[in-house]
Amino acid sequence: MKDALTTFTRSRIFWPVVALVALLVANTLKTSSFLSVRVQDGHLFGALVDIARNSSPLLLVALGMTLVIATRGIDLSVGAVVAISGAVACSFIASSPDPASPVTVLTAVGIAVGLSLVLGVWNGFLVSVVGIQPIIATLVLMTAGRGIAMLITGGQITTVNSPPFKTIGSGFWLGLPVSVWIAGLVFVAVAVLTRRTALGMLLESVGINPSASRLAGVHARTLIWTAYALAATFAGIAGLMISSNVMAADANNAGLFIELDAILAVVIGGTSLAGGKFSLSGTLVGVLVIVTLTLTVTILGVPPSVTPLFKAVVVIAVCLLQSPVVRAKLAARRRPAVVAPVPAKVGA
């Protein structure tokens, strides 16, 4: 028990969890009812539920980002994919004769997710086959993608009126928001996919040492391609959630800067941008920290103009506490004689 506790305090996920708890405590001090969850019409309501729901699209994007980053890559285009996916779904529904029909909505969802997958395959092609640096390869779609979304929506904000579509972003099932169910399902699916098969280990091996992996016969091209395809697919689902939430597709602003939040969540979660070892649960905590932070800013009444600054301070604090240098210094304080011979132990 004590060992488990020590392992936890040494792990990279420890400080992000502390930050999350601190944010929750701060909010509770400010608003005593913060942690309370009440039942209304059979649905759960409360700040915690809001956090979970607001986290859903970001979690989806961040999960894909985690896989891509594990391969030493990065995907800047996810925000654009979010916009395209929303635009396609809304345009299809708006132009269909029967927007309220579940068949229409399912078709729209299928087209949007399918198109997102195609976009991910395109990214993966540029990176793994053509060999373009990931940041440049995905920058192409990051810029072009919003243009594509504009083309699809004809430059307008496309609004729809379709109850089944609304369910994705605002519906409830068994008391919880549908979007939370979707994100949770994807999270479990990715966890199973990476850790119950060898996908996670092989992705890490490619990320840590590509040449050695190649000589070991690892099919790096397929793995990297898969990571980008999954990242865009998840972004597509996130795009459906975001557009369904407001029942509109905004080609310019949907998913704007979500790629940066996702990268941040991954890094806060302890996955190195240098690739290799990744942690899905770390990413989950990272997402919760970011979303809670955003909510905290609102609750504490911080003026919107200084919100980014407030966010930056918290992020810097968490990143500092995770950095090997600072951790080594803290460890040295606890046990004066030892200088870490290797960079501080990284929790798996």
Partner: protein, 507 residues
């Protein structure tokens, strides 16, 4: 022998890492104008002692006196300021900077606060000239061979007027000419009163260049000796301690003469295989159950040949037959599909996955072959890993240890386990014994002989000719990227191969 005042005196040095006593109560003395060899197996504590001296590791107890004054260096920079320069085993330079920038990094001549590039290049050229190294200071470091990069690293270490020069395995990537060149430089530095700490696994070189040696074993001091007074066999037995039987095994490494094989076809046959700029087209047959040695100097094309046989590089001429069927080895993956495994000479760059565990590293080849979807069960993985950890004596015998925390010899064993686990029919080993200790070396040699006896085809590359000779049934000799001859085991003498390699000289 005269005893001038020591320039470095380390007394009672102890260093402990979590779970490991890396050094226990070790003394070490270095005098001006001597070449002092630090001897010991992998994991004996050589590197740790060097890192203690250069301030990379903090010592837990003991004292370090440099030039009569006690020192505890806060870091490598402090040690350098005190006149201690180091060239590490792995070339630690910036590959995408120029040679001049690398040599002068941190010591660039300045004018009006800005770096004077012309003067930098000129100064670098002077330092390189002292090593008789005739290369363009403005060229990119990465455009040169590892051997040249090593010499650049040494000349970089000499930029600061070092009183103490530490050379950790400087010769492991150098060919005979370059070693001679390096030794000439070392002798001239020695005559100028520089104290040189030299680490090498090549006993011949140690006996050629060093004046004294300090022997470590398992983190403890065995003793300090004058090189001339310590016979080789005694040195080796002091280094490896009680396990003298390993030495005998090394002596009697079985070399089975190839039984009648006229009726069998080769497992792999290369016909006119070549790649422009790497190796001229060559023919080579490798039969099951035999060890084919590749002999030649560094840069003779032995590695390039091996890479073509294993799909690591793609051939642009000729063809390959595996068991009589013509095939193309486009990638390592296709080669592995034909049961051809390749262990690269670049252990760090092309072998070790440092942040993964021993278990994952061993299973990587097998798992890659099966694809990601069909994960090898934990039970099966445990069986495989336990089998190889025991069979190869991997230390620590902990499958969950991160590979980067293992010593070089043990990392090599893990890599061997990775390849053996894929049950290859042809195993290509490029310098499998480089930079590892005598004991592990003997074990790997024995293993190679056993694998061949069990019917595996092995291609074996080593810079140590004796080793190639002892193990191989047949030796292909290379020179200047051309396969120039093939000689068969029993009648081969060392002189004969050396003559082949040397005849005609190098262009």
């Amino acid at each position: 022998m005269s005893h001038p005042t020591p320039v470095v005196e380390m007394r009672g040095i102890s260093i402990e890492f979590p779970g490991v006593k890396a050094l226990q109560d070790v003394d070490f003395t270095l005098r001006p104008g001597e070449v002092h060899a630090l001897m010991g197996e992998n994991g004996a504590g050589k590197s740790t002692l060097i890192k203690a001296l250069t301030g990379v590791y903090a010592i837990d107890s003991g004292s370090i006196v440099v030039d009569g004054a006690p020192h505890t260096f806060a870091g490598p920079a402090a040690a350098q300021a005190a006149g201690i320069s180091t060239v590490y085993q792995e070339v630690n330079l910036c590959a995408n900077l120029t040679v001049a920038e690398n040599v002068m990094l941190g010591h660039e001549p300045r004018r009006l606060g800005a770096i004077d590039w012309r003067a930098t290049r000129r100064a670098a050229a002077e330092h390189l000239a002292r090593l008789d190294l005739d290369i363009d200071p403005a060229s990119l470091l990465s455009s040169h061979s590892i051997a040249v990069q090593q010499l650049v690293a040494i000349s970089r270490a000499m930029v600061v007027d070092a009183k103490v020069l530490i050379l950790d395995e400087p010769t492991s990537s150098l060919d005979a000419d370059e070693v001679r060149q390096l030794f000439a430089v070392m002798r001239s530095l020695r005559s100028r009163g520089v104290a040189i700490l030299f680490v090498s696994h090549f006993l011949e070189q140690v006996y050629e260049i060093s004046d004294r040696m300090t022997i470590l074993r398992n983190g403890r001091l065995v003793g300090e000796y004058a090189t001339a007074e310590l016979p080789r066999l005694e040195l080796v037995s002091k280094m490896i301690g009680t396990s003298l039987e390993v030495l005998e095994k090394l002596e009697e490494a079985p070399k089975r003469s190839v039984a009648a094989r006229a009726d069998t076809q080769p497992y792999l046959r290369a016909i006119g295989l070549g790649r422009r700029g790497a190796i001229e087209p060559f023919d080579l047959d490798v039969y099951a159950g035999e060890v084919v040695g590749l002999a030649g100097l560094l840069g003779s094309g032995r590695t390039e040949l091996a890479r073509l046989l294993t799909g690591a590089d793609r051939a642009d001429a000729g063809q390959v037959e595996v068991e009589g069927t013509t095939t193309r080895l486009r990638t390592p993956r296709t080669a592995l599909g034909h049961k051809i495994a390749f262990s690269s000479e670049d252990r760090k760059g092309e072998g070790v996955i440092g942040d993964l565990t021993v278990r994952e590293n061993i299973m990587l080849g097998l798992q890659a072959e099966r694809g990601w979807a069909r994960r090898i069960s934990a039970k099966r993985a445990d069986e495989v890993v336990t089998k190889y950890v025991e069979a190869l004596g991997i230390r620590p015998a902990d499958p969950d240890a991160l590979l980067r925390n293992l010593s070089g010899g043990n990392q090599q064993k893990v890599l061997l386990a990775r390849w053996l686990a894929t049950a290859p029919r042809l195993l290509v080993l490029d310098e499998p014994t480089r930079g590892i200790d005598v004991g592990a070396k003997a074990e790997i040699q024995r293993l190679v002989a056993e694998l061949a006896a069990d019917g595996m085809a092995v291609v074996f590359i080593s810079a140590e000719l004796e080793e190639v000779l002892r193990l191989s049934h047949r030796i292909a000799v290379l020179r200047d990227r051309v396969k120039i001859a093939e000689v068969t085991g029993d009648e081969v003498e060392l002189d004969q191969v050396v003559e082949l390699i040397a005849s005609g000289g190098r262009s």
